[in-house]
């Protein structure tokens, strides 16, 4: 039981971080960013390059991942999404654009970083072992702690800073925010950059545990969408709860159902379908959007 709880907290915290950026972008711009997983992968590769290849301290490499993705996110918003949103009233235009960006980033990743799985040296050696009832490598504990810290910092930013208030206003009602003097274009770009930065941050954190490869982007996006759907699209606290719930479901399923084969995700998908049929807006979303 201790192991299941520990695995659940660990998986939940990393999943919540992945979902946060996606739901932030959706909340601000009503854009389903299918390229979120690819941004996560780029974040991992940037940390891999700086920390794993060039020997730069891990924290600095992590900062480079954040900066790179923030710049990439800002450029994508300014030169791709913003013009499309202004020029087209159809929501599928941004969806197609996001899918196109995902394919494009996949191709760029292949060209720049190659097809191989990449990994970096462990940031801390050793394993916490409590009488074989609870086994957790120290680096996972540290990453879990850093993920929770990042989530708290993000919530703090959204709650207590001028930028956060502007972003929340934008998410609640774009027109009203504009009438109150919020520079919508500027904060949309900042919000998208922040969402992309979160993807870069979690990619950089997790490359120390999971490594990174070209093919991780698509599945990561799918998992992130699942968490957002569970929690409620566009709701920050919903994404956190979605991540935690998915993490615990996975940990419990893998621990208790392994003798029946790989049915954990089958059950998760079935549960998700039933849940969405009963509550389509998700756990914390509003029925009106």
């Amino acid at each position: 039981m201790e192991q299941i709880l520990a695995n659940g907290v660990y998986l939940g915290s990393q999943y919540a971080m992945i979902a946060l950026g996606l739901t932030l972008i959706f909340a601000l711009m009503n854009v389903l960013n299918f390229a979120h997983g690819q941004m996560y992968v780029i974040g991992g590769f940037v940390t891999y390059t700086f920390y794993g290849q060039w020997g730069v301290p891990f924290v600095l490499a992590l900062v480079m991942s954040c900066v790179t993705l923030a710049i990439l996110g800002a450029l994508i918003e300014r030169y791709l999404f913003a013009p499309v949103i202004k020029g087209s009233a159809r929501e599928e235009s941004t969806m197609l654009l996001a899918a196109g960006i995902a394919f494009f980033l996949d191709a760029v990743i292949l060209l720049v970083f190659g097809e191989k799985q990449r990994g970096v040296p462990k940031i801390i050696d050793g394993v916490f072992n409590y009488d074989f009832k609870l086994i957790m490598p120290y680096d996972r504990i540290l990453i879990c702690f850093l993920a929770i810290l990042s989530i708290v910092a993000f919530i703090g930013l959204m709650q207590y800073t001028k930028t956060g208030r502007a972003l929340r206003a934008l998410a609640q009602d774009r027109t009203a925010a504009q009438l109150m003097g919020v520079n919508v274009d500027r904060y949309s770009m900042i919000g998208f950059a922040l969402g992309a930065m979160l993807a870069g941050l979690v990619g950089g954190l997790l490359v120390t545990i999971t490594g990174v490869n070209l093919g991780m982007g698509g599945p990561t996006s799918i998992k992130a969408f699942m968490m957002v759907m569970i929690g409620g699209a566009g709701v920050i606290s919903g994404a956190i709860w979605g991540g935690i719930i998915l993490g615990f479901m996975e940990a419990i399923g893998l621990a208790l159902l392994y003798q029946y084969g790989d049915i954990t995700y089958l059950l998760i998908f079935v549960s998700l379908m039933i849940f969405l049929a009963i509550r389509p807006q998700g756990l914390m979303g509003k029925p009106w959007g």
């Binding site: 190659g114 990449r118 074989f132 490869n213 790989d262």
Partner: protein
């Protein structure tokens, strides 16, 4: 006036150069060889190592004047198609090869793709070299597929037998991704281990192919405390993470797989925790590699920036196709002639030291020669590189 003359001279020079270039290109007839496999997504490494091996070898052949088959010298052109590990895309890829008049195709990389393209290949006179293990592809009445590597049901028993004798291994646990290839390899592995008298202590733990953290997956397996942990059909992307998680969970036994791996990937992903990991390779270790293999690795690295150890096995398919066509030039357009030649074909193996031969095998496993004779080299990973554990041959 002076400027006009200069422009005329420049245009004439450009036209002349273009003409010379096209004449040079047109010197040799082009022989197209196809590749249909996965070059995107989580398993991209499998197909890309195939494609790049073929492209590196083709560039080498073309650079050195082409490949002589009968009286004609050919430049080799590789036509590639990414099937995205999707059987429907694999069919589309094979249809594209048929439309281009290609009779020899390397791939697909996985079981369901290889099974899906069979009707297209057979109806269009295409010989194809899959990296997939279902016996039905290679047993009569099927005759167009040639297994491009050593199958797990051939390498597995050899590895288990070695470990039983040398390491005293008695119990084994299997872990596989929830996909057709790894699951069928797990089934084959369980059968082989049971037949050899090993006790299978865990055989039902699987994982999603996109799993990135294997600690929760492996926790129940570790409770069974096996002597040997077999990672059935594990992809190079997942192997380091599985090894790392198993070791961090306190596993002290042997870890092995029957798929080819890359030493660099293991070093980065698992470091010293991967020491002792057993996998299957081609002419991969320094003591086995011939000067031609060394040059191939150099050219591949120069062309793509980094070598992939999986190519130690993947280098062979194109060589087999070309050497067999050389043995019977009529096979260039007649795959029946190719099939007939396969029964008696033999040529020196240019990638291995010693007197190793290229020849078609598979009589024991398939009842007909529908497998390339790739050396069954069992490697052990040690401090960043593979060392040869033992070498065997497949009949």
């Amino acid at each position: 006036m002076k400027r006009r003359s200069l422009m005329k001279s420049a245009l004439t020079a450009v036209a002349f150069t273009s003409l010379m270039a096209s004449t040079a290109l047109a010197e040799n007839t082009v022989l197209k060889i196809g590749f249909v496999g996965v070059t995107s997504g989580p398993a991209a490494s499998w197909g890309i190592s195939n494609q790049r091996s073929m492209e590196a070898r083709a560039a080498w052949i073309n650079e050195t004047g082409g490949y002589k088959i009968g009286d004609v010298t050919y430049d080799i052109e590789i036509v590639s198609f990414d099937d995205q590990k999707d059987p429907k895309r694999a069919i589309a890829g094979m249809e594209k090869m048929a439309q281009e008049g290609i009779h020899y195709v390397v791939g697909p990389n996985v079981d369901d793709g290889a099974a899906a393209v069979r009707p297209v290949a057979e109806s269009n006179g295409i010989m194809y070299f899959p990296y997939a293990f279902p016996k039905s592809l290679y047993e009569a009445p099927a005759s167009n597929a040639v297994l491009g590597m050593v199958a797990n049901y051939q390498s597995g028993p050899a590895i288990y037998k070695y470990l039983m004798a040398e390491k005293g291994v008695k119990t084994v646990a299997f872990v596989a991704a929830n996909e057709s290839d790894p699951l069928s390899q797990r089934t084959g592995g369980i059968e082989a281990a049971t037949a050899l008298g090993m006790e299978v202590v865990s055989d039902n733990v699987t994982y999603q192919v996109d799993t990135t953290d294997f600690t929760p997956v492996l926790t129940p397996v570790m409770r069974a405390q096996p002597d040997l942990l077999v990672l059935s059909g594990v992809s190079p992307a997942n192997a380091p993470q599985l090894i790392r998680s198993a070791r961090e969970l306190g596993f002290q036994g042997v870890i092995s797989t029957e798929t080819a791996q890359d030493a660099g990937v293991l070093a980065e992903g698992a470091g010293d925790l991967a020491n002792g990991f057993i996998s299957v390779g081609g002419a991969s270790t320094p003591e086995l590699s011939s000067p031609m293999m060394v040059e191939f690795v150099e050219r591949y690295t120069k062309m793509f920036g980094e070598y992939n150890d999986e190519s130690n096995t993947k280098v062979y398919a194109l060589e087999y196709i070309l050497e067999t066509l050389k043995a019977d030039p009529s096979a260039i357009t007649d795959v029946d002639a190719f099939k007939t030649t396969m029964d008696t074909f033999e040529a020196p193996n240019p990638y291995m030291n010693g007197d190793a031969k290229l020849r078609y095998v598979g009589m024991s496993s398939f009842g007909q020669r529908r497998q390339v004779s790739v050396p069954l080299v069992v490697n052990v990973y040690q401090n960043g590189a593979f060392e040869t554990l033992f070498v065997a041959e497949v009949d």
